[in-house]
C-alpha cells in the first residue's frame, strides 16, 4: 500500500525525515513542477526520499551507514546493512546544477565508502576506497561534495568490501531532476532491483552466494509485501529502475506499451526512445520507462524470469510433476504425521496450501495447515479478487483508476465493467 509519506511527497509537500537540522538552516520545500529547480518528488514504494537542509547554498544530505532490519514481507525479517534505517537507503533527490554535500557516517562494524554510480564528479569524490579516498572507518563521518552536472536516474552504493556490503543491501537511488523539466511527469516511481541469498530458516543474507539467490526484491520487499503503484487514469507515468544485483532483470509491464526513455548514461532523445513491453535492466544500470496510463485496471508489473517471481524454493528436491502419491502418501503419514504429497499436477497446490498465509503463529508462516521453517515465506503467495495469484519476489501491481482516494490509500481491486472479464464457456 502506498504510504502516506510518499503520497504527501508526491503532492509537493516535504515530509519530515531523519536528519539533523542546524539552527538557522531551512529545509527547502519541493513545490509543484514547472519552476526552475522545482520538481515533483519521486515515489519510492516501501521507501522514502532523504531530507536535506540548505547550508550556505549547498544541499546537505546525511547518510548513516548502519545495520538495519528489513521486513521483506510479513513473516520474514532480514538482518541487512543499509542507510538511515532502511534498505535500500533513502532516495536522494536533487536538481541538476545543485551543489550537494553528502555526509556519510559509518556505524557499520567495518569500513565503508560511498560511490555515486553514474555521476560526473571530481575523481576524489568517486568513492572507491583505496583508489579515490581512504576508507571511512567505523564511527567516522566524511563529506562528499560536488556539483551536479547532469540529470537522470543514478544510484549510490559502497565501494568497500563490495561483495558483502552489496549482498546485504547497501544501495540507494540518486535522482537528479532537470533544472527545467523536459515534459510533465505525473507519477514518478523509483524502484531498486536486488537479489539475496537468505537460506530458509535464517535471518541474514549469505554474501558467499554468487549465483544461487533465492529472494528477489523491489526496494528490498517481495510480493505480497510490495506496495502497488497507484496511478490515476490519463497520467503520464515514469518508472525508474536501478539494478545493483548480480543478474539482469527483464521487467515486464502488462497492458501497456511503454518507451525506454533514459539509461544511467542520461536521457535518450525522443527519437531514440524504443517501445517495449519488457525492459531489460542490466547489472549496474538504470532504465527509465514512461507511458500514459490510459487503460484502467490492475496491471501486473514484474520480472519475467519466472523464478524471480517466486520466494525461496528448493532446487535439490525431487521433481514431483506427474508423480502420483496416492496410497503411498498415507504410508508416509504413518511415519510423518501431517505429510501432504504435493506437486503431481504442478506447484499450484503449494499456493493453495498457503491460502492462510499471512497468519503468524510464532514460529513460521501457516501454509493452510502446513507450517514452514521460521522466518521463511511460502514460495507462492498472494490472493486476488479471483483467487490465488501464486506469485512472490519481484511482482507488484500498477493500479490505474479514474479516481484515487485522497488519502493515498489503496483503492482495492479493480471493478471490471460487465462483459470485460474472460468467461468460462465449457
Amino acid at each position: 500500500m502506498i504510504g502516506r509519506r510518499n503520497f504527501l511527497l508526491g503532492a509537493g509537500l516535504l515530509a519530515t525525515a531523519a536528519g539533523t537540522v542546524h539552527p538557522g538552516a531551512t529545509a527547502r520545500a519541493a513545490g509543484a513542477p514547472g519552476g526552475p529547480g522545482r520538481y515533483r518528488p519521486v515515489i519510492t514504494p516501501n521507501g522514502r526520499s532523504l531530507a536535506y537542509r540548505m547550508v550556505d547554498g549547498v544541499k546537505e544530505f546525511h547518510l548513516v551507514a548502519e545495520p538495519v532490519e528489513r521486513e521483506f514481507a510479513p513473516g520474514m525479517t532480514v538482518k541487512c546493512w543499509g542507510y538511515n534505517g532502511s534498505t535500500p537507503g533513502p532516495t536522494i533527490e536533487a536538481v541538476e546544477g545543485d551543489r550537494v554535500r553528502i555526509l556519510v557516517t559509518n556505524r557499520l562494524p567495518e569500513h565503508t565508502t560511498v560511490h555515486w554510480h553514474g555521476l560526473l564528479l571530481p575523481n576524489g569524490m568517486d568513492g572507491v576506497g583505496g583508489l579515490n579516498q581512504p576508507h571511512i572507518q567505523p564511527g567516522e563521518t566524511w563529506a562528499y561534495e560536488f556539483e551536479l552536472r547532469q540529470h537522470g536516474t543514478h544510484m549510490y552504493h559502497p565501494h568497500a568490501d563490495e561483495v558483502v556490503q552489496l549482498a546485504v543491501g547497501m544501495m540507494g537511488l540518486f535522482i537528479i531532476h532537470p533544472r527545467k523539466p523536459e515534459r510533465r511527469i505525473d507519477r514518478d516511481f523509483a524502484i531498486m532491483l536486488h537479489e539475496w541469498a537468505v537460506h530458509p530458516g535464517t535471518y541474514r543474507p549469505d554474501p558467499a552466494v554468487m549465483t544461487d539467490f533465492n529472494m528477489f526484491t523491489f526496494n528490498s520487499r517481495v510480493f505480497p509485501g510490495i506496495d502497488p503503484l497507484l496511478v490515476k487514469r490519463g497520467e503520464r507515468v515514469r518508472i525508474r529502475l536501478g539494478n545493483l544485483s548480480m543478474n539482469a532483470h527483464p521487467i515486464h509491464l502488462h497492458g501497456y506499451q511503454f518507451h525506454t526513455t533514459a539509461t544511467d548514461g542520461g536521457p535518450l532523445r525522443e527519437s531514440a526512445w524504443w517501445p517495449e513491453t519488457t525492459v531489460q535492466v542490466p547489472v549496474g544500470s538504470t532504465r527509465d520507462i514512461e507511458f500514459v496510463a490510459d487503460a484502467p485496471g490492475d496491471w501486473a508489473f514484474h520480472c519475467h524470469k519466472s523464478h524471480h517471481t517466486m520466494n525461496a524454493m528448493g532446487h535439490d528436491i525431487p521433481n514431483t510433476l506427474g508423480v502420483s502419491q496416492r496410497g503411498v502418501e498415507e504410508k508416509i503419514r504413518e511415519v510423518l504425521p501431517g505429510y501432504m504429497g504435493m506437486g503431481e499436477t504442478g506447484m499450484a497446490e503449494h499456493a493453495e496450501h498457503s491460502a492462510a498465509a499471512g497468519k503468524h503463529a510464532g514460529h513460521g508462516m501457516h501454509h493452510g495447515g502446513l507450517r514452514g521453517p521460521r522466518n521463511t515465506l511460502p514460495m507462492m503467495m498472494g490472493e486476488g479478487p479471483f483467487g490465488l495469484i501464486e506469485m512472490g519476489g519481484m511482482f507488484t501491481v500498477v493500479k490505474v483508476r479514474d479516481e484515487l482516494p485522497a488519502d493515498g490509500s489503496d483503492p482495492g481491486w479493480y471493478r471490471h465493467p460487465p462483459g470485460s472479464i474472460a468467461r468460462k464457456v465449457s
Binding site: M313, P318, V328, V335, H350, G372
Partner: protein
C-alpha cells in the same frame, strides 16, 4: 537284673541322651528372612509349605505388563530351579542332624556251645561305644550348626544371583522388544521411501540408479528387522525359562525400559555396605570359623587318637557270670595329631588369604559396577538432553522445510530413520544401565543394600 536287660537299658540311655532332630522346615525360615532383608522379595518352598503357599501380595497380575520387580517375584515363586535349590537345605539339615549325634554304639552277642557234658551255652554280650565321639559331640554339633548356616547363606546367595538373572533377562527382553518395534518403524519408512521412489521413476522423474539406492536402503531395514525379531524371541524365551512360563503364553512386558533408577549412593558407602552384606563373604567366614574350631579340637585332643568304652557280660558254660567294663585307647606313639594340625593350619592360612582375595574381588566388583552405572547415568543424560531432542528437531525442521518444497521428502524420511536409530542407541544405553544396576545390587548383597548405603552415608553426616 538280667545282664541283657541292664545293657539294653544303658544303651537306651545313651540313645536318648545323644538324639538330635531335624529342624522344622529345614531352616528355610532363616533363609526366607535373609532373602527378604537383602532383596525385599519373598520365597516359598512348595515341598514344605504347599503349592499354593505365598502371601496374596506376592501374586502377579498377568493382565498388566510384567514389571522388573514382578518378574523377580514371580520367578522366585514359580521357578523349578528355586525348588531344586531349596532341597540343598534338606540335605544339609540331614547332614547337620547326622553330625549332631554320637556314633551308634555297638552290641555284639556271642553264643558258643561246648561239647563238654553238662555245660550251658557260653553267652557273651558286649556293648561298646566311642568315648572320643562323646567327648567331641558338643564341638561337632557346633561345627555342624556353623556348616548348616553356611549352606543357608549359600542358598540365599544363589537366590539373589537368580534375582539378578531374572532382572537382566527381563531388561534384555524389554530392550529387544523395543528394538524390534523401532526396526519395524524404520522398515516401514524405508518401504514408503522405496514405493515413493518407484512412483517417481514410473513418472520418468527418477533414475534407475537412484531407485536402486532406495531399494538397497529398504533391504537394509528389512534385514535389520529380521535380526531384531530373532533377538526378541530369544530374549523372551530366556525370560520365560527363568520364570517358569510358556514363551508362547499370553503375558507381556512394558513397552519401554524405565527411564532411570534413584541416584546411586556414593562409592565409599556402597563398598562398605557391600562388604558387610555380601552372602559369599559370610559363607567364607563360616568356613574359616569351622576351620578354627577344627584346629582347636585337633590341638586339644591331639594325644587322644581314639577311646572306646565297653560293657561286657559273659555267662560261662558252667553257668557263672562274668561282668565288667573295658576301655580301649589308641596310643599316640607315631601320630600325635601333628599332620592333622599342620593340615588345618595350612587350611586356615589358605582360607585367610582367600578371604582377602574374595574381599578384594568384591571391592572390585562393587566399584566396577558402581562406576559403570554412574557413567551410564551421564550417558543417559546425554541421550535425553542432546541426542534425542536433536534428532527430533531435525525431523521436525526437515518436515517444515519439506512443507515449503525446500527439502526432499526422501531426506525427511531418512531423518526419521536416523531418529529411530537415535532412540535405539538410547535403548541400548538404558539396557546397559539397568544391567549395571542389577550387577551392582548383586555386588552389594541385594537391592536393599542401596538404601542401606544411603542411610549409612546419612548417618555419617554426609
Amino acid at each position: 537284673m538280667n545282664p541283657v536287660f541292664r545293657m539294653s537299658l544303658a544303651a537306651a540311655c545313651l540313645v536318648v541322651t545323644g538324639c538330635s532332630t531335624l529342624q522344622p522346615g529345614h531352616g528355610f525360615d532363616a533363609v526366607r528372612e535373609q532373602v527378604r532383608r537383602a532383596g525385599d522379595v519373598e520365597i516359598v518352598w512348595h515341598a514344605m509349605e504347599g503349592s499354593d503357599a505365598g502371601s496374596p501380595g506376592s501374586k502377579v497380575d498377568f493382565d498388566k505388563p510384567l514389571t522388573r520387580f514382578d518378574a523377580v517375584r514371580f520367578g522366585l515363586l514359580n521357578s523349578p530351579r528355586m525348588q531344586a535349590l531349596f532341597e540343598a537345605l534338606g540335605i544339609a539339615d540331614a547332614e547337620r542332624a547326622a553330625a549332631s549325634v554320637p556314633g551308634n554304639p555297638g552290641l555284639s552277642i556271642l553264643a558258643r556251645d561246648s561239647d563238654a557234658p553238662g555245660t550251658r551255652t557260653n553267652l557273651e554280650i558286649e556293648f561298646a561305644t566311642s568315648l572320643l565321639d562323646l567327648l567331641l559331640l558338643p564341638s561337632r554339633r557346633a561345627m555342624a550348626r556353623t556348616d548348616f548356616e553356611r549352606v543357608q547363606l549359600e542358598v540365599t546367595d544363589a537366590v539373589l544371583a537368580y534375582t539378578g538373572e531374572i532382572q537382566q533377562a527381563w531388561t534384555a527382553y524389554v530392550a529387544a522388544r523395543e528394538h524390534r518395534q523401532l526396526a519395524d518403524a524404520s522398515h516401514h519408512a524405508g518401504t514408503a521411501a522405496r514405493e515413493l521412489a518407484q512412483r517417481f521413476e514410473a513418472a520418468g522423474n527418477l533414475s534407475l540408479l537412484e531407485l536402486a539406492r532406495h531399494r538397497s536402503a529398504e533391504a537394509a531395514t528389512a534385514l535389520q528387522l529380521a535380526d531384531t525379531r530373532i533377538a526378541e524371541y530369544t530374549a523372551r524365551s530366556e525370560l520365560a525359562l527363568l520364570l517358569g512360563l510358556d514363551a508362547a503364553g499370553d503375558w507381556q512386558v512394558p513397552e519401554t525400559l524405565p527411564e532411570q533408577g534413584p541416584a546411586l549412593p556414593d562409592l565409599a558407602a556402597t563398598v562398605a555396605t557391600g562388604l558387610s552384606r555380601r552372602p559369599d563373604l559370610a559363607v567364607h567366614r563360616k568356613r574359616i570359623e569351622n576351620t578354627a574350631a577344627a584346629l582347636r579340637i585337633a590341638r586339644r585332643y591331639r594325644w587322644l587318637g581314639g577311646a572306646d568304652f565297653m560293657l561286657n557280660g559273659e555267662r560261662e558254660p558252667d553257668g557263672s557270670d562274668l561282668r565288667g567294663f573295658g576301655l580301649a585307647l589308641e596310643l599316640p606313639v607315631f601320630d600325635q595329631g601333628q599332620p592333622e594340625i599342620a593340615r588345618l593350619q595350612s587350611l586356615q592360612r589358605r582360607q585367610s588369604a582367600e578371604a582377602e582375595a574374595i574381599r578384594a574381588m568384591a571391592r572390585k566388583q562393587i566399584a566396577v559396577a558402581w562406576h559403570t552405572a554412574r557413567t551410564l547415568e551421564d550417558k543417559l543424560a546425554t541421550h535425553r538432553q542432546l541426542a534425542l531432542p536433536a534428532a527430533a528437531d531435525t525431523v521436525r525442521e526437515a518436515q517444515l522445510h519439506q512443507n515449503y518444497m525446500l527439502e526432499s521428502i526422501f531426506h525427511v524420511l531418512a531423518a526419521r530413520r536416523e531418529q529411530y536409530a537415535a532412540r535405539a542407541g538410547y535403548v541400548d544405553t538404558l539396557h546397559d544401565y539397568w544391567v549395571a544396576r542389577s550387577q551392582l545390587e548383586l555386588a552389594i548383597g541385594g537391592r536393599t543394600g542401596m538404601t542401606a548405603a544411603r542411610d549409612a552415608r546419612g548417618a555419617n553426616g554426609s
